[in-house]
């Protein structure tokens, strides 16, 4: 437990240092309403990262999230353009359902055919993306074709925060409860930590992974609508390459790519970290050509620190060492 705490504490510390550094160059960045804006901007990343976390916990990876988001987004946009009268709630439902179905396709391939997830999602990633082209014929759906309710929803503010941010918070809370206190949530850890043993406890590895993908897909679908509505445009390439950023957020948050280890809190912090970096770079007057190198370095440094922190130091057998550690914790 202490390891976990310290890992997240480290990351939280890093975020504070980062904010301090940014503030030293650009004080307005840490103004509360700007931080709220950064959080809102980070929400899609956060929501996707939460879904990805569950998938990674089960020793899988979902590279199709961005394509799923884009396809769902396009469907929602086209639906709205064709039938402006359809209420947003229905569109939300359709988005989540469609996303979940695409997640289920991944999940079924992983579960029933035992194809490694990276292969499955590499394949569905291109298939989903290509499908957008097929349904839209490469055309854009633009702001003026969307209804005001459609584009206004994620930006409507409730208690001072836009809906988009509330969705981020809601997703985080639901996931924390789900991971901590439902059998499925614990099964994610079991399946990723020791898939062999999971079978012995009556947990079906494949079925659990299936649900992980479904969840990830549903959240990607949700983001699909939110994204398209927020930027008021839908086209084939939206959120291109976003999947790697999502994985990066999880990894920075300490989710072990080997499965079975990590916390939702870590993911939240990881997503925030990346979100702050992304939002800060444009304002701290760093040449745009440096951005890529900086985010790459951030990923490497973060994962180095994370791994350092969790490295095993060997067993404690000697009585002397035992007393020392007990003294330290007492």
């Amino acid at each position: 437990m202490s390891l976990f705490k310290s890992r997240e504490a480290l990351l939280a510390g890093a975020i504070l240092v980062l904010l301090a550094l940014i503030a030293s160059r650009f004080p307005a960045f840490i103004a509360p309403d700007n931080l709220a804006r950064v959080f809102t901007d980070t929400s899609p990343l956060l929501i996707l990262a939460l879904g990805q976390t569950v998938v990674i916990l089960t020793r899988c990876i979902d590279l199709s999230v961005a394509a799923n988001l884009a396809l769902t987004g396009m469907v929602c946009a086209m639906l709205n353009a064709a039938m402006p009268g359809v209420p947003v709630v229905v569109i939300l439902l359709i988005a989540v359902t469609l996303g979940a179905v695409m997640g289920m396709v991944n999940g079924l391939l992983v579960w029933k055919l035992a194809i490694p997830s990276i292969v499955v999602t590499l394949g569905t990633m291109t298939i989903y993306r290509g499908t957008i082209f097929l349904i839209s014929d490469g055309a854009w759906v633009n702001a003026h074709e969307m209804s005001a309710a459609f584009t206004g929803f994620p930006r409507a503010t409730v208690l001072g925060l836009p809906m988009l941010a509330w969705f981020g918070i809601l997703a985080a809370v639901v996931m924390i409860v789900m991971i901590r206190s439902t059998p499925l949530g614990r099964a994610f850890y079991a399946v990723g930590g020791n898939p062999h043993a999971a079978v012995y406890t009556g947990i079906s590895v494949g079925r659990t992974q299936f649900w992980a993908f479904t969840l990830s897909g549903a959240l990607a679908g949700l983001c699909g609508y939110l994204w398209v509505a927020r930027y008021a445009v839908a086209y084939v390439d939206i959120a291109g390459g976003f999947e790697l950023e999502v994985v990066a957020a999880c990894v920075i948050g300490g989710i072990s790519i080997a499965g079975g280890a990590g916390t939702i809190l870590g993911t939240i912090l990881g997503a925030l970290f990346l979100g702050i970096v992304k939002n800060a770079l444009p304002v701290v007057d760093i040449s745009p050509f440096w951005q890529m190198a900086i985010s790459g370095t951030a990923i490497i440094v973060a994962v180095t620190l994370n791994t350092r922190n969790t490295k095993r130091k060997g067993r404690i057998i000697l009585r002397r060492a035992q007393e020392q550690t007990e003294g330290a914790t007492a």
């Binding site: 307005a28 702001a143 003026h144 445009v233 291109g240 939002n279 007057d285 745009p288």
Partner: protein, 285 residues
């Protein structure tokens, strides 16, 4: 769309419209190779990269295929002529003028470009900087790149407004960027303070004009562009015309194209859209 119109007019032309998986030069090369293999008569390309396509296009020309570039150009040795939608100095001047017209007392403007490698963007921005002297009191405070991604452009535009709280205008000579910038201005509640302008399509910008985030913007007619490119390719492929500096090549209803010393020519002047005319065009392109 315009290409088909031209094909119909010419009668004996078949248009193949195709594109690569992604917006990379390598992908375009694969497509061009496939076109060469089909022994097409002419290739009209809007390039992702000025230089990278040169070898493969040279190969195409060696095999007797007419090659022209349009919109985003290819280096001179890789094509017979290049069709600019409009003259680069004209566009450079236009985008800054659109911003300056709304700022009689001068002010700060920033540029939101597409990718760092897009040739046409960079040319326009360079041309714009050349004529800056004509616009007294207008100061270009920075250039950022949104990579033609909606989310990144949005974030960059937001960043600009924060870095320069007294920013007066954002110039985005890219259709993705201008939409995202307008969106960012609306979300930041700065409609009226920051004017978004640049190059965009009426269909995509109708919302921004309506909200007031953008007062005006410019664009040429993409249908005309496709039409002209097809016409030019036809003229060259049938040897009815030859691409040489100074040559004048007819483009059907679009008049004639006059080539400069780089065998480039401009189609027409960009057209300005604002609240007064946007509704007439937003459903066309």
């Amino acid at each position: 769309k315009g290409a088909e119109e031209a094909a119909a007019e010419l009668g004996n032309v078949e248009v193949i419209y195709t594109g690569p998986t992604d917006t990379t030069a390598e992908g375009q090369i694969e497509v061009i190779n496939a076109l060469i293999a089909q022994q097409v008569d002419a290739i009209a390309v809007s390039a992702n990269d000025t230089d990278a396509l040169v070898p493969v296009l040279k190969k195409a020309m060696q095999r007797g295929i007419t090659v022209i570039s349009w919109d985003s150009g290819v280096a001179a040795e890789g094509r017979e002529l290049h069709l600019n939608p409009s003259s680069n100095p004209l566009i450079g001047n236009m985008i800054i003028k659109l911003a300056a017209d709304e700022l009689p007392e001068g002010g700060k403007v920033a540029v939101l470009s597409a990718t760092t490698t897009s040739t046409n963007q960079n040319t326009w921005i360079a041309e714009m900087n050349k004529v800056m002297g004509n616009y007294e009191g207008i100061e270009v405070v920075g250039t950022v790149y949104g990579d033609d991604l909606a989310d990144k452009s949005y974030r960059e535009a937001t960043g600009l407004m924060q870095t320069y709280p007294d920013l007066d205008a954002i110039i985005a000579p890219t259709s993705v960027g201008i939409v995202a910038a307008a969106r960012a201005v609306e979300d930041a509640g700065k409609v009226g303070q920051v004017n978004v302008t640049g190059l965009g399509l009426p269909s995509e910008m109708a919302g921004a004009i309506e909200s007031g985030a953008s007062k005006s913007f410019a664009i040429w007619n993409p249908i005309d562009l496709g039409y002209s490119a097809t016409m030019l390719a036809y003229q060259l492929a049938t040897d009815a015309a030859e691409a040489a500096p100074g040559a004048e090549i007819p483009m059907g209803r679009m008049g004639t194209l006059t080539l400069d010393e780089n065998t480039e020519g401009a189609m027409a002047d960009p057209f300005v859209y604002d609240a007064s005319n946007i509704n007439d065009f937003k459903d066309i392109f």
